[in-house]
Amino acid sequence: MEMRDLVLDGNAIGGLLHELFGTELTAAPCVCAGCGAREEMARLDVYVDCPGVVVRCRHCTNVMITIVQGRERSWVDLGGTRALEL
């Protein structure tokens, strides 16, 4: 297996996002805080084989979202996302 095989997309975290935010988000446009590109969540690069989940911009690779789940709580860093359209 090569590194490239580990890159999924936003479809893969649709269930997790629904649990955290209470709504379907895979079709939600997201604006990258790094380069300004606007893409639906499903079109972002997602890495799940790390401690937590990392969502990167497919254009500039900026880390847009990280999600870490603990026993009783989840921690979501949206620092790399300028806007999320709902």
Binding site: M1, R4, D5, L6, V7, L8, D9, G10, N11, A12, G14, G15, H18, E19, E24, T26, A27, E40, M41, A42, R43, V48, D49
Partner: protein, 230 residues
């Protein structure tokens, strides 16, 4: 688990009886969560293969060393129960009343959500032109082979390519998807088709990039990458 059916030696369909299932749209998936006696949990996503309105079914490929798929493929018996979450997804979905021609591009078990679309089209009596380009390793690995043959016609076409081994009398393609093959099979860009590409990351990237080189607008192409862990 309400029933099971082998599709290939590595792939099995499980029918699921889920109380309060709200129904799904073709292309959506669900998450399966297994919990061990010591509390350890493993969760994976599986596409729904059945059409909306049919008995809910997922089709699962056994991935060696996987935590969830070996149980679902080899062990799960009628009457077993596990947690599911879904339906999930609002992007990789197709509605049968959409009149645009549809190109489906599947690599291996990536055919599952696309099969839900083909079944939904047939079930709704839709006349939307739909073409499936399906890449498998060998003839034995072709998931839903007989049903796809039966569905063909009335505006639904199936084109197979076998990448590893082809039978002596094989009339389909015998190589990985490349630009020439896409040019043969894909609708002309002027038709502005809807495209759904599903498979491994490398398969999806190759298919989508090739279609863009043919003049397809990236906005027409919806992709879903399947993980290599199961």
């Amino acid at each position: 688990v309400a029933g099971g059916k082998w599709e290939t030696p590595r792939v099995r369909t499980l029918e699921l009886d889920v109380p309060d299932w709200p129904g799904h749209v073709a292309g959506q998936h669900l998450d399966v969560r297994l919990t061990a006696e010591d509390g350890y949990q493993a969760e994976r996503s599986y596409s729904v293969g059945s059409a909306p309105g049919e008995l809910l079914a997922v089709t699962v490929e056994r991935l060696e060393d996987g935590e969830v798929s070996p149980y679902l493929v080899d062990e799960a018996r009628e009457g077993d129960a596990f947690e599911v979450r879904g339906p999930i997804g609002g992007y990789f979905v197709w509605e049968p009343d959409d009149p645009a021609p549809v190109l489906l591009v599947a690599g291996g078990s990536g055919v599952v959500p696309l099969m839900s679309m083909a079944r939904a089209r047939a079930r709704e009596g839709s006349s939307t032109p739909m073409r499936l380009l399906f890449s498998s390793r060998t003839l034995e690995d072709v998931i839903y082979r007989e049903e796809l043959e039966a569905l063909a016609g009335n505006g639904f076409e199936v084109v197979h390519t076998l990448t590893r081994e082809q039978p002596p009398d094989w009339s389909g393609y015998g190589r990985r998807i490349d630009d020439d093959l896409l040019r043969d099979v894909a609708w002309p860009a002027a038709d502005e088709p809807k495209v759904f590409v599903c498979g491994s990351t490398r398969f999806v990237d190759a298919g989508a990039d090739g279609l863009v080189r043919l003049g397809y607008d990236p906005r027409w192409i919806r992709t879903e990458r399947f993980g290599a862990t199961g």
